[in-house]
Symmetry: C2
Subunit: 432 residues, 2 copies
């Protein structure tokens, strides 16, 4: 694994004592990511509604695409023929792909059940959190049968196949193939999925190492693989999962390059769950909190409890629906009160949208169903989360006090004093 360009290194720069928070640098063949960092969600090899120039301008250091979606469209063979995802979309910074594991859940147990597959709440009835006839996936120990949500084609996804697809897509960082559970699942279901996840993690790593050996022979870049920690809200399972994946070593010495953390839920749950995981994982490897960042509390708690990177589709999705972040809380731009508001969405924001346009104009675009409104809202929301994590990083590098003060000021202003208290219980003594 050392003949050519290394897959990934991680250097820790600064830590905050008595917490799991740290800053650092992830290095990949396509450049560095200063952490903590927000990774933009680019499901189908595009950050929805934005051009590459706009992605760069909003300060994104890296983006994450979805293996399942790219496998169906345009297909992993085409991605390989293009020379990999970087060349396919002409994006030259570090890229991540997920494994397809999330879709095992969202198209499986959660499919058309009213279970909330994306925001990690417990919406829906626990009686529905079981397998059913019309779901689009079927899991066995070997792998997962998918029925394409596009054309009904049957696909058998295994850990090995997920790795082959991800190596064809050729992002810098891959995720091991895992089995998620529902927020409503019982311990027995969770344990069974966890055992499957661990067996698949080892198979993923083994296939990944073999594929990297092929890259080495061809003089191509090495690619990195993260194991994905599962175990839902169960303390013992999270310890077990982090311990297993953190220690997993092939006979030839290879280990995971970092870790994804899956199946996390509400921001209030992050401190406990992330403590169990991140005090167990090896300290020197990066940790990516999968699908979290729908609201600012996720980011502050994620950093405080030891995560280095984040991704979430929510900021652009909410933006497309007119739900827009401001430092004083989230607003809906279509609200009548913004009709003649000729001020920016947020006067402190440095994004193109806020430097160029008023709420009245953006509201008009939404009311008139103009795509430009979705573009401008996506630019703003994405810049808002990228900038928030940038600011967290800067404060973290400055001093412990700067980090705590920034966290307090931001969350109190965003959520109000009462609600913010839910996220501030770990703050220092000067907090009341």
């Amino acid at each position: 694994m050392t003949q050519n360009k290394q897959a990934l290194t991680f250097d820790i720069k600064r830590k905050i004592p008595n917490t799991l928070a740290r800053s650092g640098t992830i290095s990949t063949p396509h450049g560095d990511i200063q952490t903590p960092a927000y990774i933009g969600a680019a499901t189908a090899a595009t950050m929805k509604t934005l051009t590459n120039a706009e992605i760069d301008a909003l300060g994104a250091q890296s983006i994450l695409s979805n293996t399942y979606h790219l496998m169906l469209r345009p297909g992993a063979d085409l991605m390989e023929k293009a020379g990999g995802i970087h060349k396919f979309m002409n994006y030259n910074k570090p890229m991540y792909t997920d494994s397809g594991g999330f879709q095992v859940y969202s198209l499986g147990m959660a499919y058309k059940k009213g279970l909330d597959a994306t925001s990690h709440t417990t919406k829906g009835s626990s009686e529905n959190a079981v397998m059913s006839a019309d779901q689009l996936t079927k899991v066995d120990k070997e792998g997962v049968w998918f029925k394409s949500h596009l054309n009904g084609d049957k696909i058998f996804m295994t850990p090995e196949y997920s790795m082959e697809l991800q190596h064809q897509i050729a992002a810098d960082v891959h995720m091991a193939f895992d089995e998620l559970t529902s927020p409503l699942s019982g311990r027995e279901q969770i344990k069974s999925a966890l055992d499957t996840t661990h067996a698949w993690a080892e198979r993923s790593l083994r296939r990944h190492v073999a594929l990297n050996a092929v890259h080495a022979e061809k003089g191509e870049n090495q690619q990195a693989l993260f194991g994905v920690v599962q175990g839902a809200r169960e303390e013992d399972f999270r310890y077990e999962s982090a311990g297993f994946l953190g220690g997993l070593t092939l006979e030839t010495g290879e280990q995971f390059d970092g870790f994804g953390i899956g199946g996390t839920f509400q921001p209030e749950e992050l401190p406990d769950v992330l403590t169990w995981i991140n005090e167990t994982l090896p300290e020197g490897k990066p940790r990516h909190l999968l699908g979290m960042g729908a609201q600012p509390a996720d980011l502050f708690l994620g950093v405080e409890f030891g995560c280095d990177t984040f991704d979430c589709v929510a900021p652009t999705r909410q933006g497309r629906n007119g739900a827009i972040f401001t430092y004083d809380g989230r607003i809906n731009i279509t609200n009548k009160r913004f009709e003649d508001d000729f001020t920016p969405i947020d006067s402190e924001c440095d994004c193109y949208t806020c430097l160029t346009h008023t709420k009245a104009y953006i509201r008009h675009l939404f009311k008139a169903n103009e795509v430009t409104g979705m573009v401008l809202a996506s630019i703003h929301n994405e810049r808002f989360v990228v900038k928030t994590v940038e600011d967290i990083r800067q404060k973290l590098n400055e001093s412990d006090a700067a980090f705590w003060a920034y966290k307090r000021d931001f969350l109190v202003r965003y959520y109000g004093q009462e609600r913010a208290k839910d996220f501030l219980y770990t703050s220092p003594a000067d907090w009341q």
Copy 2:
């Protein structure tokens, strides 16, 4: 009208002998337009899918919005409260508005009839080209009743009201309120609508002058007004209309600042119709060909026969549907043959899309219903027409021979030798 910033001046730079073609400069309070020029269509105060930065980057010198659409949403009062359309959308170059007259037709006689209201063909049956019960407009000599296509509200639009709305919106160049006819209308209908259009032109000018006097008192910019020539395919009516509007002078001396040309159809018809009009209109004032530019022949013939500016929704609309201009003709990007085509849409194009992305990537975005695909296609199509008119202008300024050679080479390459001949009959002797 001379106390403050003049509404509009037009200086002719160069003419091609034995044609009506000329280049020049239109000056407005928001800057100059080098003509011939393509004016981007920005119906609802946005060029669909694009940001202002993208509009600037594609080289647009000016954009045109639609009074009827803005009147309904966000409303002319709000536009005035914002300080006019330039401030509302933060666009600082010259702007045009149409009068609402086109919607008299498209929501009236043409409404839900299968008549082609936008591409000026004769699609549909002439038996349908009559008033009907469910159309959304009703014309009388005083004005037009509109039933809002959004909420059914009834609006009575008169020439005076159109001018009041346009002055509230406050673009640099307005159009007089007119009555269009269908491509299928008979001479009697056309003559009746023409008489109405001329009566309304005078009422428009009168109200416009009064509103400019109010601007003068307030120290605000003067705004310009173009009379709109109608008369369909009828030679005598076109002479009559151009003569009437070109000579129209109020007792106090005011005239139109320029002219719009409405109700033109296929490119093959442009030479005759434009000759009738443009050899009649006063030479020293700019002429805007309304709604033409769906294909390159429109632009070449429009310039050759005396038009200075053009606007058309077709390039962005076609782009959003995946129909994309190249110098070798129009392609549909969703075609299977582009699946693994890793070359730009057009290797000679200098737009962001062509400098950044391949056909395979753009096709993928369209197949995956990603908005970014529509953005990239709109950037390209709009740049293609803007650039084509830029190149026509450059050649026209260079020499007669350069203009003719450019026209011939472009059209033969785009349409093929046979079809191009339809557009080349006025070329010089060296053309065969």
